[in-house]
Symmetry: C2
Subunit: 186 residues, 2 copies
DNA sequence: AGATGGATAGAACGATCGGTCTATATCGAG
DNA sequence: CTCGATATAGACCGATCGTTCTATCCATCT
């Protein structure tokens, strides 16, 4: 039994996911096409161009699904669910292949404010904000929207700082602040 | 009386500072040379190439001097001096020209781990860590090194998150956490 | 005056960029 | 089988990349 090979569209997204993470969004299309084993024309057929591929990549990536998974694995208690995110961040940021948050990277690397990727990044982080807002609401936080912004700062700060100083274990530093935050709003 | 025009080296650094911030480190050398009004050859004479210019840019930038200035303007009290940094971050991140932290951007954009810029970014953030460590020591923090890591996460998180969601006012969110942190370690 | 060194201007290098093109192959539906 | 859509392979486009080159200008020093 042989698993059927994914179509060119899926192969392009997969290759672009891989290469843009390790080399940044400025990887050449040639490299993506080669790794995906896809014809040049198919890229423009499916995504209209490199910009479209990058945007589609960010949209398709199961970004907040991963956060939800980590939370669900931690049970029902909001306190546990939120701190589990930072435990996971410690694991992620210590991996030798860790190269930062792909959304933040894309947002910083693309200087053109009209690039379609910006909308995807915004949508992703807005989704995360909503996710943590509902969690803090369940926790009984008096200002869940503000608290969610604080958690997002901790997450982005962890992912950004770990690129330069992984040995500082920013995830552990952030986790302690998340605890303070939850304690103070109990 | 006419102020003498700075030499080619200074003009190159100034132009590169400007253009790499607005367009990222992938700006072409042509654009830098044009804005600096400097001959092509001079760039390679002074910096050996584009990589050398980028690294020199990051080294020469008065990065932590600016943090020190903000602190000194806030007086002697460590509490005030630390929180003043976040007040300044709120101002900086709300500017329409704000484009994130140039050090984090450079670190993320340059995928080659051997690029000389990485060492400069590391040196800069290590310097900041030392700055906040001494401040927290003066404050009487029981674990000033760990606390400094926490403050750096807050700063990097503010600068990273404000690129995508400036309306969330991450600096204010971070400031509140910095207060919690200082309270908890008093 | 003559020599020297730094700066300028700009042609030119090969490589690579994103994107368009033609031509051929494959495959499922009618 | 034929048709039409979709995929592949690869040449080709103009533009730009970082870098090296020659040639000229000019201020300074002997």
């Amino acid at each position: 039994m042989t698993t059927t090979r994914p179509g060119p569209r899926e192969r392009l997204l997969e290759a672009a996911r891989d290469l843009t993470y390790t080399h940044g969004v400025h990887v050449g299309v040639d490299a993506i096409l080669k790794q995906a084993e896809v014809a040049r024309r198919s890229l423009y057929q499916h995504f209209g161009g490199k910009d479209g591929l990058i945007a589609a990549l960010l949209r398709s990536y199961p970004g907040d699904a991963r956060y939800r998974q980590v939370m669900d694995d931690a049970g029902d208690d909001p306190w546990q669910r939120i701190l589990a995110v930072f435990d996971e961040l410690e694991v992620v940021t210590q991996r030798p292949t860790f190269r930062g948050c792909r959304y933040t990277s894309a947002d910083l690397a693309l200087s053109d404010p009209e690039h379609p990727a910006h909308a995807e990044v915004r949508a992703f982080k807005d989704g995360l904000h909503e996710l943590f807002t509902t969690e803090l609401t369940r926790y009984g936080h008096p200002a869940p929207g503000f608290g969610a912004n604080q958690l997002l700062v901790l997450i982005d700060g962890t992912l950004a700082h770990a690129v330069t100083r992984p040995d500082a274990h920013p995830a552990l530093a952030a986790r302690a602040m998340a605890e303070l935050l939850l304690d103070a709003s109990a």
